[in-house]
Symmetry: C2
Subunit: 554 residues, 2 copies
C-alpha cells in the first residue's frame, strides 16, 4: 500500500484523551470531553501555575509551492522531545475547512508527525471556527438590522467596516450586493465575505487572555463610520455580551495528541497575511503552565509569522520565544534559486546555493531579535547529497546551527538531532529585544519592519494610507503594533521576487485599525481574504467508506 | 426572585450524561461525550432492537402570537410518564440559533418542563446545524466554482436552484448579487441566503436512515438546470461524498435530559413551513429502540406539522403515531375567537367559544387518520374558570378526551392527568390510514390536503405551478408526498383568517421538487425562508456573567 497522511493516521494507535490529560497534568475536572479523543480545557480549573515553560517557535523560509513541512517539523520536534522524556506540549493552529476542501486536503502535519484524530481536526473539530462564523455573521446581521430599523447611530451604509464570513473558499462571495428587493428586505449596499479565519473575531479570540478581556476587545472593534465619518464600535451597538456568549466555548483550548502520544493543544488559527497567524495566546499560556517546553509555530515565513509572533503575540503575552527553528527544504531552496516547480526533481546544487540567500535573510532577522536560530533542513527522499552538502557547508561557514530532520517518515526519531540543538539553545541566556516600540510612530514602525525584517530600502504610503494616518492620530489609535498584510512568497511585496530581493520599497496601500485585536493592519499589494477553489477541488476526492470512515483527507 | 427559564435551568440538578445513558439502556461504547451533559449516540453500536416503542405525537391548534407551549407540554408529558415509571424518551428538534438571537431567546421548553443544558442546546449544541451550514455552503461554492472553471455541465447561472444558508436571522441576505468584481471573482448572478434549517440538507438529514442513505439522498438533490433546462444533480457534480463526510457526526442523534432526568434525544430541526418540521427519523427510530414510549412533536399546528408527520415522516419511517396530543391554550383560543393580543388579559368566555372552531377542525383532522386525539389544555395563571369550563364542556359534549396541564410550574406532575389519558389511548388498537397515496396525482394529493386537512373547498394552480407539473411528470418526480409551504397562522393561505375559515381555495404559486428530501414543496402565499431581526433583538440582552455563565436566554 502507499502511505497517505490519512492512512497513517487511521492505522495509528490513539490513546483515550484522559490518558493524554493525565500525562499533561490536566486534572479531570478541567477537562470537557468531545468524544474519546478530543477535549476542551477549562483553564480556570487548572492548578495554579508554579512556573512557566519555555517557548520554541518554529518558523520557515519564505514559502514556495514546493512546500516546507513546517507543521510536520513542529509536531516531529515535539515528539522528539517526548522521546527524550522532556515535559513537552505542542501548540498548533486549527485548520480552516476552506483550504481543506480546496487544495490542502488536511493541515495537521504529515506522515508520522501528525496530530490525531486528523479527520476530526481537519473537519469541524470542536466547532471553534463555526462559533466564530456565527459571531461574525450575527454582528453583521445586527448592523444591517440597525440600518433597517431606523439607524439611530447614523451609520453610513457606504462606510461599513465589518464584512460577513464563511469558513469556505468561495470567490463568488468576495464582492456582493445585499439588501435588494425593496424596503422590507433591508438597506441595499455593497458587501463581501471573508474566510472566517480572516475575521477580526478570530484575531481577538487568539489574543484575549480571559473571557472578560475577550468581551472588552469585542466591544472595541470598529464596525462602521457615521455620515460624519465618526467611528462606530460594537459597544455602541451593545452586542459584545451576545458575541462573547457565542464564543464562550470556542475560547477554551482544545487538547488532542500526536501519533506518538505527545499532548497537543490546538486552538485558534488567524490568517497569517491579514492577521498575526499563530495559535491562541491562551493556548500557548496554558501549554506553558503544563509543560517545561512548548513547541509552537507561526504562519508563512519568518518575515511574516515570526515577526508578528514577536511584535504582536509575545508583546501582548509578555513573553518571548526561548529558541527559534527555521524550517527549509532543498526543494524550496531550489525554487528560491530560480528553478520551476516542474524541474524540482533534477539535482541542482547551484540553484540551492542561490536560494540560500532567502534562508540567510531569515537567519539574520531572527538574530536581530537576540535569538540564535536553529535551522531544520527537512529532508525529502528526492534530495541529493551534493544539494544537502551545499546547505550544511554554508551553515558551517556562517556559524549557523543546523540539523537534518526526517520526521515525516520517522516521527520523533527523525527530529532527535534537531531537538538536541534546540535544547542547548534553550539552556543559554537570552537577550531578547523587540525591533520597535508600540509608541514609535506608525511610519517608523513600518520602516523598521521593511528595512530590518524584509531587507528593503523603505516604504511608500499611498494617499489613502496617508489619510488613514491622520485618522489614527486623531483617535489615538497609532500606538499599536503593526500587522503587515504582505504576500508570503517574497520578502518584498512582489510575489514573483523569490530569493533575497534588495533595494525595493514597500507600498502601503491602506491601514485598517483593528482595535479589538489591538493592531494596525497595513495592506500591501493585493491581499486575498477569501480564497477560491481550484479547478479540481480536494472535495471531489472526499468521501466516507462503508464503515463511515473518512476518505480523501491527506 | 422572578423565575425565568434560564434561572430555573441553571438551578436545576443536572445528572452526568452517563447516568442518563444508563437509564436509557445505551451502552458506554455507543456514547460519544460532548462535555459532561451532552453526548452523541453511535447508533451502530446499540444492541439489536428487540421491539420498538410506541410513538406519541404532540401537535397543536393553529399557532398565535399568544403562544401554546407545545414543546413545554411535550417535555412535561415525557416527565409525567417518567414519574409513572414508564420507559420513556422525549425526541425533540434542535433549536435554530437565528430565532434564538432574534425573538425567541430559547427553544427548549419552559419553566420546569425543559431540557438541559438549555444554554448549550440553544447556542451551538453539538454543532449539527453548523455542519449543515458548512455542507450547504460548500455545495454552493462548488457550484459557483464549476461555473467559473469552464462550466462543463452547461449550467445556466440564471437557473441555479441551490441557495446559500446561515443559521441567523438576516433579511439583508434574502436577495443578493454575487460574483461581482470582474472575471477573477466568479460569475455574476442573483442569489440569496436561507436560514440553515430551511436548507434541503436539513430535511435530508432528518429523513435519512443510514449514512449510505444520506449520501444517496444528497446525490439526488437538484441544484440547477442547464441552458437546455435539464436538471443537474449533486451526483453530476460528484460531491455527495464530501458533503456526507461533512455531515457524518451531525447525523448522530444527541442525548440530553429533562430537568427531571428523563432521557431526551434532540436531533435535527427542519423548518415547518418550507420543510416537514419534525426531529430526525433516525432520532425517533433510536428512541423507539430504547424506550417503550417516545414523545415527539411536530412544528406549528396540526394542519402543517401533524399532516407532514403522517404523510412524510411516518411514511418514510414505515410507522405511525400511536397517540396524538393537541395542545391548546385559553389565550390562543381567544385569539382565534377574535381577541387582540393586547386584550388577552380580559376574561372572555364567548371568544373562547368562538375560537374552539379552530381546535375542533384539528380534532376532526386527526380523527381522519384513524387516531382519537387527546387535548392538552395548557393552563396559564391568567385563565379564568368560566373560560376553562367553556372548553371542558365542549369536550364533554363532543366526546373528546381532554386534560388540563400545568407543566411549566410543576413539571411532570403537571402532566400526569394527560399522561393517563394518553396511556389509555396507547393501549387501544389503531386503524391508522394515510389520507393520500404517493401514487395519487399531484393535483389529487393537493386537493385531499386542502379539503380534508385545511377544510377548504379546493386548489388553484398558478401558471408557473402548472408548468412545473408538466416537468414533474416528464421526469417521473410526481409520485412523491407533498410538503405544503403555507402560513402557520391560518388553516387557509391568508394569515389573518383565524379560527376555522370555510369555502376558501388555496393557491399553489410554485412547486419545487426536493428529490433528496423526497417530497414536493408546494408554495402558497409568501413563505419566509430567511427571517429578519426585530427592532430589539434578543441578542441585546444576552451576555456572560463574571463566572462565564450565560445571561439573557429565556
Amino acid at each position: 500500500m502507499t502511505f497517505t497522511d490519512l492512512s497513517i493516521a487511521t492505522n495509528a494507535t490513539i490513546l483515550p484523551i484522559n490518558e493524554i490529560a493525565d500525562k499533561a497534568g490536566i486534572p479531570r475536572q478541567a477537562l470537557e470531553l468531545y468524544g474519546n479523543y478530543k477535549a476542551k480545557i477549562n483553564v480556570d480549573s487548572l492548578p495554579p501555575a508554579t512556573k512557566l515553560g519555555q517557548v520554541v517557535l518554529v518558523t520557515a523560509i519564505s514559502p514556495t509551492p514546493a512546500g516546507e513541512g513546517k507543521s510536520t517539523v513542529t509536531v516531529g520536534l515535539a515528539d522528539a522531545f517526548n522521546q527524550l522524556n522532556e515535559s513537552v506540549i505542542v501548540a498548533l493552529r486549527e485548520p480552516s475547512l476552506g483550504p481543506v476542501m480546496g487544495v490542502k486536503g488536511g493541515a495537521t502535519g504529515g506522515g508520522f508527525a501528525q496530530v490525531l484524530p486528523m479527520e476530526d481536526i481537519n473537519l469541524h473539530f470542536t466547532g471553534d471556527i463555526h462559533a466564530i462564523t456565527s459571531a461574525n455573521n450575527a454582528l453583521a446581521a445586527l448592523i444591517d438590522n440597525h440600518l433597517h430599523q431606523g439607524n439611530a447611530l447614523n451609520i453610513d451604509p457606504r462606510r461599513i467596516a465589518w464584512k460577513r464570513a464563511l469558513d469556505i473558499n468561495d470567490r463568488a462571495l468576495r464582492q456582493i450586493t445585499i439588501g435588494l428587493g425593496g424596503p422590507l428586505q433591508g438597506v441595499p449596499r455593497q458587501d463581501g465575505f471573508d474566510i472566517t479565519v480572516a475575521s477580526e473575531i478570530m484575531a481577538v479570540l487568539c489574543l484575549a487572555t480571559t473571557l472578560k478581556d475577550l468581551k472588552e476587545r469585542l466591544a472595541q472593534m470598529v464596525i462602521a463610520y457615521t455620515y460624519d465619518k465618526e467611528p462606530i464600535t460594537v459597544r455602541q451597538l451593545a452586542v459584545e455580551g451576545a458575541l462573547t456568549l457565542l464564543l464562550k466555548d470556542a475560547f477554551k483550548p482544545n487538547l488532542v495528541q500526536t501519533i506518538e502520544g505527545t499532548p497537543a493543544i490546538i486552538h485558534g488559527g488567524p490568517f497569517a497575511n491579514i492577521a498575526h497567524g499563530c495559535n491562541s495566546l491562551l493556548a500557548t499560556n496554558t501549554a506553558r503552565r503544563l509543560a517545561d517546553i512548548v513547541i509552537t509555530e507561526a504562519g508563512f515565513g519568518a518575515d511574516l509569522g515570526a515577526e508578528k509572533f514577536m511584535h504582536i503575540k509575545s508583546r501582548k503575552g509578555n513573553f518571548h520565544p526561548d529558541a527559534v527553528v527555521i524550517v527549509a527544504t532543498i526543494r524550496a531552496l531550489k525554487m528560491h534559486g530560480g528553478v520551476e516547480k516542474t524541474e524540482l526533481t533534477h539535482p541542482n546544487a547551484s540553484a540551492v546555493k542561490r536560494g540560500m540567500a532567502n534562508l540567510e535573510k531569515h537567519v539574520h532577522t531572527i538574530r536581530q531579535f537576540g535569538i540564535e536560530p536553529v535551522i531544520a533542513l527537512n529532508r525529502f527522499i528526492t534530495d541529493e547529497n551534493e544539494e544537502l552538502e551545499e546547505v550544511m557547508n554554508w551553515a558551517l561557514q556562517h556559524g549557523v546551527q543546523i540539523a537534518l530532520t526526517h520526521v515525516w517518515e520517522n516521527g520523533g526519531k527523525g527530529g532527535l538531532e534537531l531537538a538536541k540543538l534546540v535544547k542547548q539553545e534553550l539552556a543559554k541566556p537570552k537577550n531578547f529585544t523587540m525591533l520597535y516600540d508600540e509608541t514609535d510612530s506608525v511610519e517608523e514602525k513600518l520602516r523598521i519592519i521593511v528595512q530590518q525584517v524584509y531587507g528593503g530600502s523603505g516604504i511608500h504610503l499611498s494617499d489613502k494610507a496617508k489619510k488613514k494616518l491622520v485618522e489614527l492620530k486623531k483617535y489615538g489609535w497609532d500606538a499599536l503594533p503593526i500587522c503587515m498584510a504582505k504576500t508570503q512568497y517574497s520578502l518584498s511585496d512582489q510575489p514573483a521576487l523569490y530569493g533575497r530581493p534588495e533595494g525595493f520599497t514597500i507600498t502601503i496601500r491602506d491601514i485598517i485599525p483593528k482595535l479589538g485585536a489591538g493592531f494596525l493592519v497595513c495592506l500591501t499589494g493585493d491581499i486575498m481574504t477569501m480564497p477560491g477553489l481550484p479547478k479540481q477541488p480536494a472535495a471531489l476526492k472526499m468521501d466516507i467508506d462503508d464503515d463511515g470512515n473518512a476518505v480523501g483527507l491527506f
